[in-house]
């Protein structure tokens, strides 16, 4: 049986699909180009929004980070295979429970000629922590100070052992800024003309128009593949795709599967999907109502046919997540298998729990996830679980998600997290341990395992804790783990680029055919 939401989804899509039909794909090949074509080593990238600010320590969103990661360098980085790699730090080690030592690259200069050294690292990290900066970056919450050991060595001191501190320094809090330049020009001027050590040098920015960068020929990784890098904010996916087709941009990022589908079959445009780590799941309120019964929670997991959901709603551009941790992050254990999807098993479990005639509940979601939520409601209905979908605007949804009232989003809500640190700890830090803000699960065993993976200095101990935690999640079913979403790109054939699994748009490796 097809869930009721599927036909509605198709109907909704008709409007979007009608347009490419009118545009006659075959007529697009070999046409002349519109104004503003690249063709000269310029790479033009479209993402849905502009950076909120160009001061890397005053932003905490991926759209800003996507631009800034090209102007600035971080202490560590992720390579294309997702491994933590050296950047401005060449190596790092845990010196004690509360000290991480980083050795730094020598001979690096900021774009204005200022030298990069340990003082710049101390200044940058302490600037993030300084209340006057009003930084929205929260990952460095255990860091207390940075001590300069010598010109190219720093010790980062923390209150607790933070096993994933080096991973946390691969984006946001790991960005290094030039202390002398900042002291000279002040925060406001720095945000208008940012200076970093990164592979591209800032040229100009007009909000909602374009942001221009040029190649940093003296970067320690050599000259980047593109001579110039231009970012444009195109909030409407149909407009972004039209801009790609009319040769106004070379690469469109942040696409939904629906938007991407409209482009399939166009000549001169290539669609790519890469594994990402944005992970969607249902959070179940195990503290009240029928969801207190483990059998009901297991029934939900059996009823929601995640592979069908991925195929029907996400056009296959996602992979099933068995127990909250997505593939590719530290802690993922492939031996933990997803629930067997079976409406019959779901009905049996419900009957055993005293709900032979099904039950009625509410599924809350953000408007952005409306299609997935409605499809899930349809899948649940097949097992006799009537889940009314309650959609909220994204702002209200996130406000309720982080409110002190843990029941603010109702018995079941659809959430998604991007574990950009590529460590399982990021995925389960807020929603498992009973005293964390989004947790609706009281399990002593789960609390113990979270403590073990968060505080252990031994990677093998951490992995054991993660494995046990995933098994426990499978058994107790406090969530319905769903899928990790692919990163979808549309690009012209003159561009070659492989995104990093953390989802950032570091473009130094992109190649552009002139």
């Amino acid at each position: 049986m097809t869930p009721p939401s599927m036909s509605r989804r198709r109907a909704l899509r008709l409007g979007g699909l009608a347009l490419p039909v009118i545009a006659a794909p075959t007529a697009l090949t070999g046409c002349g180009t519109a104004a503003g074509a690249g063709g000269d080593g310029t790479l033009r990238v479209a993402q849905p929004t502009d950076p909120t600010t160009l001061d890397p320590h005053k932003q905490g969103d991926m759209a800003s980070m996507n631009v800034l990661i090209n102007i600035f360098d971080t202490l560590t980085t992720r390579d294309v295979s997702g491994r933590l790699a050296a950047r401005l730090a060449t190596s790092w080690e845990s010196r004690s429970r509360t000290v991480w030592r980083f050795r730094l690259r020598s001979g690096v200069r900021f774009h204005n000629g200022e030298e990069f050294d340990a003082d710049a690292v101390k200044f940058s990290i302490e600037r993030v922590l300084d209340p006057k900066t009003r930084s929205p970056i929260v990952e460095l919450r255990y860091v207390t100070s940075v001590r300069v050991v010598d010109r190219y060595t720093v010790d980062v001191h923390t209150t607790l052992h933070d096993p994933i501190l080096p991973a946390k320094l691969s984006l946001f809090g790991g960005v290094i800024v030039p202390p002398k330049y900042l002291a000279d020009v002040g925060d406001a001027a720095f945000a208008k003309r940012p200076v970093g050590t990164g592979p591209f040098v800032f040229q100009s920015f007009r909000r909602d128009r374009e942001l221009r960068l040029r190649a940093n020929r003296r970067h320690f990784h050599g000259s980047p593949g593109a001579d110039r890098l231009v970012f444009r904010a195109l909030p409407n996916p149909a407009s972004a795709l039209a801009a790609l087709q009319s040769d106004e941009v070379d690469l469109v990022t942040g696409l939904t599967p629906d938007a991407a589908r409209q482009l399939s079959g166009y000549a001169g445009v290539e669609l790519e999907s890469h594994r990402g780590v944005r992970t969607a799941y249902l959070n179940l309120d195990t503290t009240s109502g029928p969801l207190r019964d483990r059998r009901v929670r297991q029934a939900l997991n059996h009823a929601i046919d995640v592979p069908l959901l991925i195929k029907a709603v996400l056009d296959g551009k996602a992979s099933e997540v068995p127990a909250m941790l997505p593939r590719g992050v530290v802690g993922f254990d492939a031996s933990v298998e997803p629930f067997r999807r079976s409406v019959r098993t779901a009905r049996r479990l419900l009957a055993e729990a005293g709900h032979a005639h099904g039950l009625t509940t509410t599924l809350t979601a953000s408007n952005d996830d409306a299609q997935v939520a409605e499809a899930i409601s349809g899948l649940l209905d097949r097992a006799g679980i009537r889940a009314r979908v309650d959609l909220l605007d994204p702002g209200t949804f996130s406000a309720r998600l982080t409110s002190d009232n843990r029941h603010a989003l109702g018995p079941i809500y659809l959430a998604a997290s991007t574990a950009w640190t590529l460590d399982g700890a990021s995925m389960v830090q807020s929603n498992v341990r009973h005293d964390r803000r989004q947790s609706r699960w009281a399990s002593k065993e789960a609390d113990r395992l979270i403590d073990a993976e968060e505080l252990s200095m031994d990677p093998e101990d951490r992995q054991r804790a993660f494995t046990a935690l995933q098994r426990l999640i499978k058994r107790e079913a406090p969530f319905v783990p769903l899928y990790q979403q692919d990163i979808i790109l549309a690009r012209t054939t003159r561009v070659r680029w492989t995104p990093v699994v953390n989802g950032s748009l570091a473009m130094e490796s992109a190649e552009v055919r002139a």
Binding site: L19, A34, D55, V138, R141, A191, R206, S239, S246, A399
Partner: protein
């Protein structure tokens, strides 16, 4: 945005001092309107949610939220925040954007040229098409030409602008590659957004002009003009159009006010860097100072346009001048 009513004709005393007094009264009223709009914006935006929740990621701790809230002054009592806001308003200091970390006056000012350009472009286009269309339809009332023109404009009025915009992009940018699909800066960039935005205004203006003109064309002075032996063109343009223009001018003014702030969908489709798009983003971020400043901008735009429309009556209607 379009709910403002048609203004009654102005009654003024001595031509110069009366007009001046009228302008001063209207300006004083405008200040009152702006104050009320600012107060409403201040209160409503605070009912809509908490910017700290939007600024910090979901895994922020309560302590981190409290720290940022205090740094932004949002932990102060509402009345204290309102006092700060009014004091800033008196000094023309609307504060810094919580998201962009720039003075909101600057953020808004950056968008004004694009917003004005699009609104003016769309209005000019609307007038160039709607006025001849309205006259044509009125003079052929009930005939095929009238039905054809009115059906066409009604179709335009009932079509969502984002759909028109995307169709135009697909035809002129993707297929013919003669105009850019999005962006800002040259005349070519203006064409498609202005056309998209004008479709609705054309319908409103043409339909109103048609019905006003039909009313006027049935009146005694038109019969007299015809009896004098004036040609049909002179009767319609010199005697009919002028009398039919009063309500039309009011609506054109209101349409322009609406175009200044109501172009959100068009701005989204064409990635036009206007104030509408900025405001939507500011609301979704719960960027209090920016939302307040945007509301003030829209209120000021409407007040100014209304004032200009009001003053234009004395130029258009001899009876208003006679009363003066």
């Amino acid at each position: 945005m379009t709910a403002a009513s048609v203004q009654p004709p102005v009654t003024v005393g001595k031509p110069k001092s009366g007009l001046l007094r009228h302008v001063l009264v209207r300006l004083a009223t405008a200040v009152g309107v702006l104050f009320a709009a600012a107060t409403l914006a201040f209160l409503l935006v605070r009912l809509s949610g908490d910017p700290v929740k939007q600024l910090l990621p979901p895994d922020a701790t309560a302590a981190q939220e409290a720290t940022l809230r205090s740094q932004l002054g949002l932990d102060q009592p509402l009345i204290a925040q309102y006092g700060d806001f009014l004091w800033g308003l008196l000094r023309f200091d609307l504060g810094d954007s919580l998201v962009y970390h720039e003075p909101v006056g600057q953020v808004i000012a950056d968008r004004v040229p694009a917003t004005l350009e699009l609104a003016a472009g769309a209005l000019v286009l609307s007038l160039v098409i709607a006025i001849p269309a309205g006259i044509y339809a009125a003079t052929r009332r009930g005939r095929a030409g009238d039905t054809g023109v009115m059906t066409a404009v009604l179709l335009g009025q009932s079509t969502p602008p984002f759909w028109v915009g995307i169709l135009l992009v697909l035809l002129f940018s993707v297929r013919l590659k003669v105009l850019p699909a999005s962006g800002y800066g040259t005349f070519a960039h203006l064409v498609l957004p202005a056309v998209t935005l004008s479709v609705y205004s054309i319908a409103v203006i043409a339909r109103l002009l048609r019905s006003s003109l039909i009313d006027v064309l049935g009146s005694d002075h038109i019969r007299t003009a015809k009896a004098k032996g004036l040609g049909p063109a002179k009767v319609v343009l010199a005697h009919g159009l002028r009398n039919a223009s009063l309500p039309t001018v009011t609506v054109i003014g209101l349409e322009f006010g609406g175009l200044l702030g109501g172009a959100i969908l068009t701005e989204q489709v064409f990635s036009w860097p206007g104030i509408g798009r900025l405001t939507v983003e500011a609301i979704s971020h719960r960027d209090f100072p920016l939302v307040q400043a945007a509301v003030l901008f829209f209120a000021a735009a409407f007040v100014i346009v209304n004032l200009l429309v009001d003053l234009s009556y004395s130029l258009l209607d001899p009876r208003v001048r006679a009363q003066s």
